[in-house]
């Protein structure tokens, strides 16, 4: 074989390798987290693009579909649930891509009644655009009773729990997003491993074929 074309092909191959180090597979992912009585999250394609109006389904811990809806233009969704249990959120972009994500019941507020089998869980979708402001202003106005004489704030145990939950989940969220993104990432070592396996498979196949189809020719060689 002449050396030039082989060299060309290899340089192209190696070139593509370096491009794809930071690339991600074309695949749909969904991320969600429980916060109080709300499950919010978003669907996204590998690489960061968001699907518009992807279908989403919420499944309870028995695998029953308890809610079906759509994401907004940003690929985001927000669901209010009535019971505390494990959920699975499933997104479908309609072109053969489906993704699912488990939401641990512990992420939801401990004041929700725990859902057992057979209980009808009420789920309602909240408009992601309008609710973000309400969420923030709503709790302080009703839960916190402020003593006007000095700045001490009295809270019941439940209210304190809620506040701590909200604060922790706010800080943990970016970390979890980062973890999930890291898992989805196509890694250079995996790519190299894949190429190695391909070479190996066809090498083994060639060896098998060579031994089978040309035993006489091999014997003729010195």
């Amino acid at each position: 074989m002449p050396r030039f074309p082989v060299l060309c092909v290899f340089s192209v191959l190696i070139g593509t390798l370096f491009i794809s180090v930071n690339a991600q597979a074309h695949s749909l992912h969904v991320f969600a987290m429980g916060n109080g009585d709300v499950i919010d999250g978003y669907a996204y394609f590998g690489g960061g693009a968001r699907p518009h109006d992807a279908k989403i389904q919420l499944l309870d811990d028995t695998g029953r579909v308890i809610f079906a809806g759509k994401t907004d233009d940003q690929g985001e969704f927000k669901l209010r649930v009535s019971h505390k249990q494990d959920y699975v959120i499933e997104a479908n972009s309609g072109d053969g891509h489906i993704a699912s994500f488990e939401i641990n019941g512990d992420e939801l507020s401990s004041q929700l009644p725990s859902g057992n089998e057979g209980i009808d869980v009420q789920v309602s979708q909240i408009d992601t655009a309008s609710s973000s402001q309400n969420e923030k202003t709503h709790p302080p106005s009703t839960i916190i009773a402020t003593d006007s004489s000095n700045t001490t704030v009295t809270l019941s145990r439940d209210e304190l729990d809620n506040l701590i939950d909200a604060a922790v989940s706010r800080h943990v969220r970016p970390l979890r997003e980062q973890l999930v993104a890291y898992e989805d990432k196509v890694r250079f070592s995996d790519l190299l491993g894949g190429i190695g396996v391909i070479v190996g498979i066809f090498g083994a196949f060639a060896w098998f074929r060579a031994g089978k189809s040309r035993p006489d020719q091999q014997n003729e060689k010195p």
Binding site: S20, A25, H26, G46, G94, D95, H97, I195, F202, R214
Partner: protein
């Protein structure tokens, strides 16, 4: 382009697997010892190229290079694509194990079809018409693959027209890029080593 586990009905999955096994079996018989490195290389190129990912509008797309693989491999494209898909599913959870058959058919069959249509023309073509043939093979294979993805989803209960539209639309940029890439690659191969474009099985006869 890669349908994932759970998106298809079991009838489609089984039918896809049966056809894929037939295609792979036929393709394997076409591979002779001289063509082996070529098949392995195109399999590796497919494996890597499908992981390069470009965000396009609301969706994202990646190269598939099935047109080029088809021109270089003929029927042997079936095992090449299958191995690539298998490793993508195992390493990256890209596609899925149960839908391997359907995905193999969706990607390899258009490649074979393009090879069958374009290859006779390509052996005689010179100059600019090589580029044209390469472009047609590259973009045509993607277009056919997209339609087949639409068909497989339609056979599983989704409405065909909107689904196919969605898949084809999101692959239009890929068609253009892939057409240009295939044209350039075919032009190069034709110049420096035309025997690589000969059908896989015929190498033995030529030698």
């Amino acid at each position: 382009m890669h349908i994932v586990d759970g998106a298809l009905s079991s009838e489609v999955v089984v039918a896809g697997a049966v056809f894929a096994v037939a295609g792979i079996g036929y393709g394997l018989r076409k591979i002779d010892i001289d063509a082996m490195p070529r098949v392995a290389m195109m399999s590796a190129v497919f494996f890597v190229a499908s992981l390069i990912h470009v965000p396009v509008g609301p969706s994202s797309a990646h190269l598939i290079v099935n047109g080029l693989a088809g021109l270089m491999l003929g029927w042997a494209v079936f095992p090449a694509i299958f191995i690539g898909l298998l490793l993508q599913a195992v390493f990256f959870g890209f596609g899925g194990i149960t839908v391997l058959g359907v995905n193999t058919i969706n990607i390899a069959l258009p490649a074979v079809l393009m090879w069958w249509l374009v290859s006779p023309f390509l052996t005689r073509a010179e100059g600019k018409s090589i580029l044209l043939a390469g472009f047609v093979a590259g973009s045509g294979a993607i277009a056919l693959s997209s339609i087949m993805v639409g068909l497989s989803l339609a056979a599983s209960g989704q409405e065909f027209v909107p689904t196919a539209k969605l898949v084809v639309m999101s692959h239009i940029p890929v068609m253009v890029v892939e057409g240009i890439l295939t044209a350039a690659a075919v032009h190069l191969v034709k110049k420096v080593r035309p025997v690589m474009l000969a059908p896989v099985g015929s190498l033995r006869n030529a030698a």
